[in-house]
């Protein structure tokens, strides 16, 4: 019996990284659900797919590229180019389906060109795709400097708003209940197709044969007569297709196009693939694991949003630490495999390698955990009291509705002499708060039930206004972005009156579309307003 279990384990050892990722994703979600009752709502789970559909689609293509031992940095650029070009063509009155088709072809052409450079000109994948990214991003601004809104396109509206209800968790007659969106379904379908291609076709086997062993496998594959160069071009072409598809999913999600969208997304995509258990050297890994990599990414973001007191940059730190852990596990596993191989052969003298590696990783891991726990302890300390009292009412209010923007009230306040009107809606607790800041330093907040007031020195208001203006509030850099917030996201509206100018910019967190400086401004304003009792 024990022997059978042992063979089972040793036979399925190659699945350990994937299994670890899946286990981590599920346990992270379970922990979240235990701490934050709001996360027990199944819709939060389905939102993982909804909000990260573009990431999943792009990560699937990236997995194949990484399996061949290459890398593609151009995905974010192609995604941005797709959003801008699609928005521009739709504005010209093109049919939505035709636009999507054109975009997919465009992505494939870009991918094919980069692939040819890599395969036939022997340009480093890193360099070739870097140039591809710059090219695509540059092209975005040739098309348009500003964000282009996608309006009255029937196809995009249908694709974006159709709710695919989950059987058993929804009411098909009333069209209510838990749902996913079409891009999420497309992502999952693509996953299935690519899994088939990777594991059951000749093309897929060639991909696995090319990658790994520091490029030596590529030579072996070539000598075996496999179509190495053609496969490489095809893989980059396919990734171009995936990037374009991801760009379409993104533009359906945010219903606009801009050259700065998806900035840095290539890193998120690569991180998701690595966390999914694919080796960056290529040749080892599973497309299926990428799904869990993307899910870990989404869950981290969700947890941080639910916590409410952690800032968005914690996502990056957590992802970095998770990557370290995963790479450590992978490295230890491959060391073990190498040792076994060596033991089978001439007998290995380098037994100390693994122990040293374990010591290194153990040491590094302990340091990281200690530092993180110290920081986390300090960060989380103050709001813990609130959070525990706060999460109880949320349990019942799983069906809370997103509050509409109190536009008239905000306009009236601005008319009355308020220099900053700041509204925050939504979030896990469905808050709806509106603040007005007056030049004399008076700050009034209101969440529909309670009112709070605070007095700050007038100079502080002046400085805040000057700071906001310096962030380019009244320039084109600060543009409106909007999509329906996910259940745990906040919607923001900020009106600023300064030097005779007035401008309102709105945005939703949890997306990738709003300009970075917008969040800087929001955090500045957040720092000055008093807290309402119902929020964290």
């Amino acid at each position: 019996m024990i022997g059978r279990i042992r063979t089972l384990i040793s036979n399925s050892q190659r699945f350990i990284p994937v299994a670890a990722t899946a286990l981590l994703a599920l346990s992270a979600y379970g922990l979240g659900a235990a701490f934050y009752p709001g996360m027990r709502d199944p819709q939060v789970f389905f939102n993982l797919f909804r909000n990260n559909a573009y990431l999943l689609i792009s990560a699937i293509g990236m997995t194949l590229v990484i399996l061949t031992g290459g890398i593609d940095l151009s995905v974010s650029g192609v995604m941005a180019l797709t959003t801008v070009a699609a928005a521009a063509l739709l504005r010209e009155g093109w049919n939505g389906w035709l636009v999507i088709l054109t975009m997919l072809v465009m992505g494939m052409i870009l991918g094919a060109v980069m692939g040819s450079f890599i395969a036939y000109m022997k340009v480093q994948p890193f360099i070739a795709t870097l140039a591809g990214m710059w090219f695509a991003r540059g092209m975005c601004f040739f098309i348009s400097d500003d964000a282009i809104a996608i309006k009255d396109s029937r196809v995009y509206t249908i694709l974006g708003q159709t709710r695919i209800l989950i059987p058993g968790l929804s009411d098909p007659v009333a069209q209510t209940g838990d749902y996913v969106t079409i891009p999420a379904v497309v992502g999952l379908l693509l996953l299935a197709v690519v899994m088939y291609i990777a594991h059951y076709t000749r093309f897929g086997r060639t991909i696995y044969a090319i990658g790994g062993n520091e490029g030596r496998n590529e030579v072996s594959a070539q000598l075996m007569g496999l179509p190495v160069q053609t496969t490489k071009v095809l893989v980059y072409t396919f990734n171009g297709f995936c990037s374009a598809l991801a760009g379409i999913a993104l533009s359906i999600f945010v219903l606009s196009g801009h050259g700065l969208y998806a900035n840095g997304a290539e890193l998120d995509v690569i991180a998701a693939v690595v966390m999914g258990g694919t080796m960056l050297t290529g040749g080892e890994g599973y497309v299926f694991g990428t799904l869990f990599g993307v899910m870990i990414f989404g869950i981290t973001q969700t947890l941080i949003q639910f916590n409410g007191s952690l800032s968005s940059w914690w996502t990056r730190i957590v992802i970095g630490v998770l990557m370290l852990i995963f790479i450590g596990v992978q490295s230890a596993l491959s060391a073990r495999k190498g040792r076994r191989r060596r033991a089978k052969g001439a007998g290995g003298p380098i037994m100390g390698v693994q122990r040293r590696r374990i010591l290194t990783f153990g040491g590094v891991g302990v340091i990281v955990v200690v530092i993180l726990s110290v920081i986390l302890f300090n960060v989380i300390q103050p709001p813990t009291g609130d959070a525990s009292t706060d999460s109880t009412p949320t349990a019942g209010s799983a069906s809370c509705e997103f509050q509409p923007y109190r536009r008239d009230e905000a306009a009236a306040l601005a008319e009355e002499g308020a220099v900053i009107v700041y509204e925050r809606n939504g979030g896990p607790n469905c808050i709806d708060e509106l603040y007005a800041i007056y030049p004399d330093g008076r700050i009034v907040g209101d969440n529909g039930e309670t009112t709070v007031e605070r007095e700050v020195p007038p100079e502080e208001v002046d400085r805040l206004l000057a700071n906001i203006a310096e962030y380019g509030w009244f320039t084109d850099e600060m543009y409106n972005t909007w999509h329906t917030p996910c259940k745990q996201c906040y919607g923001y509206y900020l009106t600023v009156v300064y030097d005779g100018q007035e401008k309102t910019v709105r945005g939703v967190d949890g997306g990738t579309d709003a300009p970075a400086d917008y969040w800087q401004v929001i955090s500045l304003v957040k720092g000055i307003v008093p807290e309402l009792p119902s929020t964290q």
């Binding site: 022997k122 340009v123 870097l130 090219f135 540059g138 690595v274 940059w313 992802i319 800087q520 955090s523």
Partner: protein, 359 residues
């Protein structure tokens, strides 16, 4: 460039590591000579030199600094993707020590008035600089340990710090862009002593790196590790220590670059500072003729590579190409330059010329 030729045979010149970067630079400057009248004009103000050429080398100083460290790392067969994030971390540490108002704890009550004084700093300048550099050295050590002792592939190992580093930088500054009011600090990036001060910094770092690699055996060891790590190990070279040294040095140069960049804009912007600078630095090294697979390297060629990148940018602005179009043009130039090095293209050209001779 003409002095370069004298005393050498033509063949020796074209085979030199510096040949292609200088040709690329010369081509771009030739373009400026034709397309932009007065591009080469250099004026003096208060005894300091100003002009487009000075601008190019001054604006390239950040990438030059990064490129020096990156050259050593790439020569060992690795790559450091985290330099941009390390720049942000170093700048954040420096800014926090000079202007810690974001922490809002244990500050003197008259902090506001003190901050209006351009010579106010919370910690003396040397503490600021040493602390920032110490932090960046720790970042470099971290990368080095992961690569050399953890045996993780360099791209992945440094990707960790690249992802987490920007988060850490934002954590340090609490997500706020800290403005730097302290005038002496601004001198690092904005000061001039006949030539821009940052240029002297580049020269010092270059001199240190050059002495370290060309006057000791370290340079040879680095090339040996990059060419074949395994046989270097067997021939008794402390392969791991060499790698550790390269990554640590790269972290240090990234820290210096972070100081220059933040004092240039008098702000520490944890989110944007050094964003995509790692790509520029790698590109500079590649233009400088060092192979991504490691091996032989030339520090000077990498710096020329940084100048090439900046020369493209400056001359495009001078011609009037809008900023947004720059990236696309940069991409085309990059591909062109890389193809110049490509073996395939060289072979192709050789084949064509050989056919001509036959005919």
């Amino acid at each position: 460039m003409s002095t370069f030729k004298s005393g050498f045979s033509l063949r020796k010149v074209t085979e030199s590591r510096l040949f292609f970067p200088f040709v690329a630079l010369a081509l771009i400057l030739l373009f400026d000579l034709i397309a932009v009248p007065g591009f080469f004009r250099i004026s003096t103000r208060d005894g300091n030199l100003y002009g487009n050429l000075i601008d190019i080398v001054r604006n390239a100083s950040t990438v030059s600094l990064l490129a020096i460290g990156m050259t050593l790392v790439i020569a060992t067969g690795g790559v450091d993707l985290s330099v941009g994030a390390v720049m942000a971390i170093a700048a954040s540490v420096a800014a926090l020590l000079m202007n810690p108002y974001v922490l809002a704890t244990e500050l003197p009550p008259n902090i506001q008035e003190m901050m209006n004084d351009p010579y106010f700093t919370y910690q003396p300048l040397w503490v600021v600089i040493l602390a920032a550099l110490a932090v960046s050295i720790i970042c470099g050590l971290w990368n080095g340990i992961l690569v050399a002792y953890g045996r993780i592939q360099p791209m992945v190992a440094t990707l960790i710090l690249m992802t987490a580093g920007r988060g850490i930088a934002q954590l340090i500054t609490n997500g706020v862009r800290i403005q730097i009011f302290y005038e002496p600090y601004a001198f690092i990036g904005q000061g001039w002593i006949i030539l821009p001060f940052s240029l002297y910094l580049v020269a010092i770092v270059f001199a240190v790196a050059w002495l370290l690699t060309r006057k000791t055996a370290i340079g040879m060891f680095i090339e040996s590790v990059g060419t074949n790590a395994r046989s270097s190990f067997f021939s008794g070279i402390g392969e791991k220590k060499i790698k550790l040294l390269a990554y640590t040095f790269c972290g240090l140069t990234a820290g210096i670059a972070g100081l220059v960049a933040s004092s240039n804009i008098k702000t520490s912007d944890a989110f944007n500072l050094g964003q995509t600078k790692e790509l520029d630095a790698i590109l500079a090294v590649v233009i400088g003729g060092t192979l991504m697979s490691g091996g032989r390297f030339s520090l000077l060629a990498s710096i020329v590579g940084a100048w090439v990148i900046q020369a493209i940018t400056t001359s495009m602005y001078a011609v009037g190409v809008p900023a947004f179009a720059l990236q696309a043009i940069k991409a085309v130039v990059v591909i062109f330059v890389i193809l110049l090095y490509s073996e395939q293209v060289k072979n192709f050209v050789q084949k064509v010329t050989a056919q001509k001779k036959e005919a």
